[in-house]
C-alpha cells in the first residue's frame, strides 16, 4: 500500500506534469529544429511565433464565446485551433517574404540570420503586446479535470490523490497526434522526403529538380503549425502572458540541442529530458521517503536537490553541460557551418 502511495505521489507530481511540459517543449523544439535544418539558422523568434499563435487562439476563443458557440465541456481553444494555425502560418510566411527570404537569397552566414531573427523577435513581441496587451490571460473553459484527486482517493482508498487536468490530457493526446502526422509526412510522402533531401544537401536537391521555394513554404507551414499548437497548449496549461514566451525560447533551444539539433526524434527526446530533469531535480522527496522508509530512518529537511526557484535554471544548466560535453546532442544532429 505504501509503495502504491509513493508511486501515485511520483505520478502526480512528476510523471504527468513531466509528460505535459515535455510535450510542449518537444513541439517547440521540433519547430526550431526544422527551421534550423532546412533554412539553416537558429530562430530566436520562435518563442514569439508560439506567442502569436496563442494570441490568435485567445482572440478566436473570445469571438466564439461571445457568439455563444459552445462544444459541451470541450475547451473552445482546441476547437478554434485550426483557424489560429492558419493565422500563424500566414504570419510566418509574411515574415519570411519580407525578412528572411532576402538573407536566404544572399546566402548570408547563419549568424546574420540569427541576428535578423532577433529583430523579428522584437517586432513580433511588440506587435503581440500592442494587440492583446502584456497582461495575464486565462482562456481555458469547459471541464477542468479528467480525474480529480478526491474521486481517485474514493475510488482506490489510497492516501495520495491523482489529478489529471483536462489541459494535461489534451496536451499529451494532441502532441502524439501531431508528432505521428509529422513523421508520417517526413518519411512517407514525396514532399516530406524532398524536404529532408533539401536539408541534407541543398545543391544536390536543386540538381534533382526539387523546388526550393516550395520547400521553404512547407517548412513555414509546419513551423507555424507546431508553434501555434505548442504555444496554445502551454498557454492553456499554465496561463498566457506574452512575457513568458520570450523566456520559453531558451528551454526550447535546450531541448532541441540536448536531443541533437536537426534531428526530429532528438527534439522530442530532448523535450522530455529537460522537463523530467527540471521536475526530478527540484522535487522535494521528503514525502516519497516517508512512504517507503521506516519512520526512524527519515532524514530532516525537504530532501530537495535544488530549490524550486531554480526550476527553469535546470534546463539552462543541462543545456550548457550538453554544449560542453557533447555539442551534437544525444542523437547526433546536424552541424551547419
Amino acid at each position: 500500500m505504501e509503495i502504491l502511495n509513493s508511486f501515485i505521489l511520483i505520478a502526480n507530481y512528476i510523471i504527468i506534469p513531466g509528460l505535459t511540459y515535455g510535450s510542449q517543449l518537444a513541439l517547440g523544439a521540433l519547430g526550431i529544429t526544422i527551421v534550423y535544418t532546412v533554412l539553416r539558422f537558429s530562430n530566436f523568434a520562435h518563442g514569439e511565433f508560439m506567442s502569436f499563435g496563442t494570441m490568435s487562439t485567445i482572440l478566436l476563443t473570445w469571438v466564439f464565446i461571445d457568439s455563444n458557440i459552445k462544444f459541451g465541456t470541450f475547451p473552445t481553444a482546441i476547437i478554434v485551433l485550426p483557424l489560429s494555425i492558419i493565422f500563424t502560418i500566414i504570419y510566418c510566411l509574411l515574415i519570411d517574404k519580407f525578412v528572411f527570404k532576402f538573407y536566404r537569397q544572399q546566402k548570408s552566414k547563419s549568424v546574420i540570420a540569427l541576428i535578423v531573427s532577433i529583430g523579428v523577435m522584437f517586432f513580433t513581441g511588440g506587435l503581440i503586446r500592442f494587440i492583446i496587451g502584456p497582461g495575464d490571460k486565462n482562456f481555458m473553459d469547459g471541464e477542468r479535470f479528467i480525474l480529480k484527486a478526491k474521486d481517485f482517493k474514493m475510488l482506490t482508498g489510497l492516501n495520495e490523490g491523482l489529478t489529471i487536468k483536462s489541459t494535461q490530457g489534451v496536451t499529451i493526446i494532441l502532441s502524439i497526434i501531431l508528432v505521428i502526422l509529422l513523421f508520417w509526412f517526413l518519411n512517407k510522402t514525396k514532399t516530406g522526403k524532398s524536404m529532408r533531401a533539401y536539408s541534407d544537401n541543398q545543391e544536390l536537391a536543386l540538381l534533382s529538380g526539387i523546388n526550393p521555394e516550395r520547400i521553404v513554404l512547407i517548412t513555414w507551414i509546419i513551423t507555424g503549425t507546431l508553434a501555434c499548437v505548442a504555444g496554445t497548449l502551454y498557454g492553456l496549461d499554465k496561463s498566457y502572458k506574452p512575457f513568458t514566451y520570450l523566456h520559453l525560447v531558451l528551454p526550447i533551444f535546450a531541448a532541441a540541442i540536448v536531443g541533437g539539433v536537426g534531428n526530429p526524434i532528438g527534439a522530442i527526446i530532448g523535450g522530455f529530458v529537460i522537463s523530467f530533469s527540471e521536475l526530478l531535480i527540484t522535487f522535494a522527496y521528503k514525502k516519497f521517503f516517508f512512504y517507503i522508509l521506516p519512520d526512524n530512518f527519515l532524514p530532516d529537511g525537504l530532501l530537495q536537490i535544488l530549490s524550486t526557484d531554480y526550476k527553469i535554471a535546470v534546463s539552462f544548466i543541462i543545456l550548457v553541460l550538453v554544449l560542453l560535453i557533447k555539442p551534437t546532442g544525444i542523437y547526433k544532429g546536424k552541424i551547419i557551418e
Partner: protein, 437 residues
C-alpha cells in the same frame, strides 16, 4: 576627412536631440537619458570588441552587467557583523570543496585512461558527492545568515569601501567569470556560443535572485553609497541656493541636476578612457591580427596564430568592459534589483546598438548606444503621441481607441525590431562603418 565630418555630424545631432528633451520636457530627464546613454555606449563597446573585431557572439551581456552590480554590494555595503559569527567563513570553504570535485572530475575526464562509460559514472558520483558535501557545509550558515534581521540585512554585506572601487572590481569579477566561460565555450560554433552565453547569463541571474545570503535575492539591496553628494545635502549649500536664484528654478530640481551632472562627468571620463584604450588596441598589431583571424580564420590558423588564446583575450576584455558598465549602472540606480535583469533590455538591446552603430567601429557603437537608448526611452511618449494622432477623430469612449492608447507603450518593441531589420537589410555596415585599416 569625410569620415570624421560624418562622425562629428552624428554626435552633434545626438547632442541636439538630447537638448530638445531638455528644452521641451525637462533637463532632469535629459540628463537621466544622457547618463544611461553613456552606460549603454560602454556596454556596446564591450560587445563591439568581441563581435566587431573577433566575430564572437556573446549573448551574455545581462550576466556580466549583473556581476558588475554584485560588485557594488560586495565593495560598498557595510558588512553584516553577525553574519561572520554565524559561520560565514564556511561558505567559501564549502564552495571550494564543490569546485575541487568539479576540477577533479575534469581531470578524470581528460587524464585518466578509463573507458567513456566509467568516466561518466565516476564523474557523476564525484560531482554529486561534492555537491552534497557543499550543501552539508554551507546550508546551516546560510540559514543562520538569512535569518539575521531579514527585513534589513539577512546577507553577508560588503566591505564598506568607497563605491567607485566597485567599478574596476566589477570589471575584474566579470573578467574572471568570462575566463571560465570563454575557456569552456569559445570552441563552439557561433550560434551555439550565442545560446550557451545566453544560458549562462540566465544562470547567473538565477543565482543572484535566489542566493539571499549573497545579494538578498528578490528583496533587493537598497541604499548603495554614492560617489557624488546627496541632493538633500546640496540643498543647504549657499552656492546651490545662489544658482537657484540665478536660474529661477526650484532648489530640488537644481540639486538633482547637479547630482546627475556630476555622474555625467565621471561617466564621460570613463567612456573616453575606454574608447581611447580600445582605439589604441585596434590599431596595434594585436588588433590587426584579431581582424585577420575574424576575416579568415582558416588561413590565420595555418599561419600558426593561436586563435583560441586570442579569442579568449578578447572575450575577457569585452566582458570586463560590460562588467564595469554594469557596476556603474547599479551605482547610478543606487540599488541592486536582480529581477530587472532581462535579456531583452540587457542583451538584445545592446546588440541592436552595436549593429545599428556599425559593427567594428567604436565610434559607431557609442552613437548606437546613444541613439538606441534615446529612442528606447522616448519611443514610449512618441508611440503615445502617434496613436493619439491617428485616433484623434475617434471619440474618447471608443473601446478600440482606449485599448490602443493603453498598449501604445509596446510600440517601442516593434520600433526597435523594425530599425534593426531595416539596418541589417539596407545598411548592414551601420551608421559608422568599420574603417578598413
Amino acid at each position: 576627412m569625410q569620415d570624421k565630418q560624418h562622425i562629428i555630424l552624428l554626435f552633434l545631432s545626438m547632442f541636439i536631440l538630447i537638448s530638445f528633451v531638455g528644452f521641451f520636457q525637462s533637463w532632469n530627464l535629459a540628463l537621466t537619458i544622457f547618463n544611461l546613454c553613456i552606460i549603454s555606449s560602454i556596454m556596446s563597446l564591450g560587445i563591439n570588441i568581441q563581435w566587431g573585431n573577433a566575430g564572437i557572439v556573446n549573448f551574455g551581456v545581462m550576466g556580466f552587467a549583473a556581476l558588475g552590480g554584485l560588485a557594488n554590494i560586495i565593495v560598498s555595503m557595510p558588512p553584516t557583523a553577525k553574519a561572520w559569527d554565524a559561520g560565514a567563513i564556511f561558505i567559501p570553504f564549502g564552495i571550494i570543496i564543490f569546485i575541487i570535485s568539479i576540477i577533479s572530475s575534469i581531470l578524470v575526464w581528460l587524464k585518466s585512461g578509463l573507458s567513456t562509460k566509467k568516466k561518466y559514472i565516476i564523474n557523476f558520483f564525484l560531482i554529486i558527492l561534492g555537491y552534497f558535501l557543499m550543501r552539508y557545509i554551507i546550508d546551516p550558515p546560510i540559514k543562520a545568515i538569512e535569518a539575521i534581521d531579514p527585513a534589513k540585512t539577512g546577507y553577508l554585506g560588503g566591505l564598506a569601501l568607497p563605491v567607485i572601487i566597485s567599478w574596476p572590481i566589477g570589471g575584474l569579477l566579470a573578467a574572471l567569470i568570462a575566463y571560465f566561460i570563454g575557456k569552456i565555450s569559445l570552441g563552439l560554433r557561433s550560434d551555439y556560443l550565442a545560446i550557451a552565453t545566453l544560458g549562462i547569463s540566465e544562470i547567473i541571474i538565477y543565482i543572484l535572485k535566489n542566493e539571499d545570503w549573497l545579494s538578498r535575492g528578490v528583496k533587493n539591496v537598497n541604499g548603495l553609497p554614492r560617489p557624488v553628494p546627496y541632493e538633500i545635502d546640496l540643498q543647504s549649500e549657499p552656492w546651490v541656493l545662489e544658482l537657484t536664484k540665478f536660474f529661477n528654478i526650484p532648489v530640488s530640481e537644481i540639486s538633482s541636476i547637479i547630482v546627475k551632472l556630476s555622474y555625467s562627468c565621471i561617466f564621460l571620463v570613463i567612456l573616453i578612457g575606454i574608447l581611447l584604450l580600445l582605439e589604441i588596441a585596434q590599431k596595434s598589431p594585436w588588433g590587426r591580427m584579431m581582424r585577420a583571424i575574424r576575416d579568415n580564420e582558416v588561413s590565420a590558423n595555418a599561419m600558426g596564430k593561436d586563435i583560441k588564446t586570442r579569442h579568449l583575450q578578447v572575450f575577457i576584455i569585452g566582458s570586463a568592459i560590460i562588467g564595469i558598465a554594469g557596476a556603474m549602472l547599479t551605482t547610478l540606480d543606487g540599488q541592486f534589483t536582480p529581477v530587472t535583469y532581462q535579456p531583452l533590455r540587457f542583451t538584445f538591446l545592446i546588440w541592436i546598438m552595436v549593429i545599428i552603430g556599425g559593427s567594428g567601429n567604436n565610434y559607431g557603437s557609442i552613437i548606437g548606444g546613444f541613439l538606441i537608448w534615446f529612442f528606447w526611452v522616448q519611443s514610449e511618449p512618441l508611440g503615445l503621441w502617434f496613436i493619439s494622432q491617428i485616433t484623434s477623430h475617434i471619440s474618447d469612449t471608443n473601446i478600440i481607441k482606449s485599448h490602443l492608447l493603453e498598449n501604445a507603450a509596446h510600440i517601442r518593441l516593434m520600433f526597435m525590431g523594425t530599425i534593426l531589420l531595416i539596418t541589417l537589410r539596407f545598411a548592414p555596415k551601420g551608421l559608422i562603418p568599420e574603417v578598413k585599416r
